[in-house]
Symmetry: D2
Subunit: 146 residues, 4 copies
């Protein structure tokens, strides 16, 4: 479902892959725009998995990454049954804040369909903003590149 | 948003009202069928509210009504921007199980768009199937009619 | 469902109102963030209706307002069964482009839950970017204020 | 993403595979029940693809399979990040009506999470109920088994 490229010091750019569902289209015969925001979730979750852990692990450990900002620019419509790539990388990384960057592409043509960012704060077991533990932070730091 | 008719011993039939969102349409230019299942949720939640309590109260009290079965028969398509009525009543009531019955209508024409049922078990604070406390059950019993 | 204030030259700010559905929550026990993007659609559609026409009329006439950009900043989580206001106004207006601005508020407390913008191009009957006809543009111009 | 078993005269049972998205959970910390109905769509679309054509081809050809009835019985909750199998087969086949049958399973444990059916009429290029052309019907007939 996923592929990733990762060299010593180069940033990780991860491609998650999904197929557009009929449920995701609207009567303009394109994908309804809020679904891209859901796809970004798929992109960052699969990026984390490619780094060696799952968002679910992190949540069971008491940490979460609630979204504080989301931004999406739509270029070309995604269509029903398209296979779509969500190309995700880490745009910004601070101890208590992570910003992911996304490009959404039509696999068959390579066309850029949309691009965007999502910003997340780190929430700890007590529900407050906190620093992400090293075991989660270190792989992110490497993935961001140097 | 809602209206209800309620006489001494007649069953309560409650109409919740909502407007179809663009997000709910699909490229067949009708409402995608899974959204009717969400509308049933709106219907039963508003029926409970008309009986004097909210599902949220019940949940804060430790009780829940997870869905164990859902059934929907589609007659006519709901269309974008339609105002839709979700006519809800109680089809079956046992201490640990509730079945709601729904008719979904286009308000402007009165046409029947879909009809269905959802069956729920009662889950208690310990996560197990249990009997619904009297304060929640009694209004349901009256609403079912005699 | 809606209310609006509108004076001679003051910009129209329109409040649409909706109740959070269980379907819109996620396991963080708050509304999943992509739903705010759907609520923005509700906000702008009801703003148009308050100006005297519906988006559906516009579409039947061959015009559409596809989203080219969306942006949302999340302040406080919306919760299940909350009544939410989507306060919508027109931030920018050009013949072929409209930007709406939104504040999403919890009705009970008046708290700001999120704010954002959506930008739309005007698409004509031939599927190309075009100027919005006067009958749709004029009410928007007045609503933007002077 | 998919696998299928197909022998001479045995019915085709096709497994589509997907991972539960955070967006699909609700505050009961399980998958919200209407999402299973969307997953059924994934199941039948991938079953068709395994037979050599796509639902999209069929639609471009002027034919559609609107849902006339859906039924789902929930056994165990699907959870966030679960990999889920949608095991789909053809339960009934008439020239103008198709019924698919589904089992939804947790891949890791093999547990049955839900089972259900969806019934579809065949709609032709003129929007009326019609018989499905042979090129689409013949593979279905074989897939149903003898």
């Amino acid at each position: 479902m996923d592929s990733s490229n990762q060299s010593s010091c180069a940033p990780v750019v991860h491609d998650a892959r999904l197929r557009v569902r009929y449920a995701e289209t609207d009567q303009m015969k394109v994908v309804y725009h809020s679904n891209y925001i859901v796809w970004m979730e798929v992109g960052r979750v699969e990026l984390l998995r490619s780094l060696g852990y799952s968002y679910e692990d992190m949540e069971k450990d008491g940490y979460g990454l609630p979204v504080v900002e989301v931004h999406c620019r739509y270029r070309q419509p995604a269509l029903y049954d398209d296979v779509v790539l969500i190309r995700t990388s880490i745009a910004q990384l601070r101890s208590k804040l992570i910003r992911f960057s996304y490009q959404i592409l039509r696999e068959s043509s390579g066309e850029l369909l949309a691009e965007g960012e999502s910003t997340h704060m780190v929430k700890g077991p007590d529900g407050k903003v906190t620093a992400l533990p090293d075991k989660y932070m270190e792989p992110l730091r490497k993935a961001k590149g140097c």
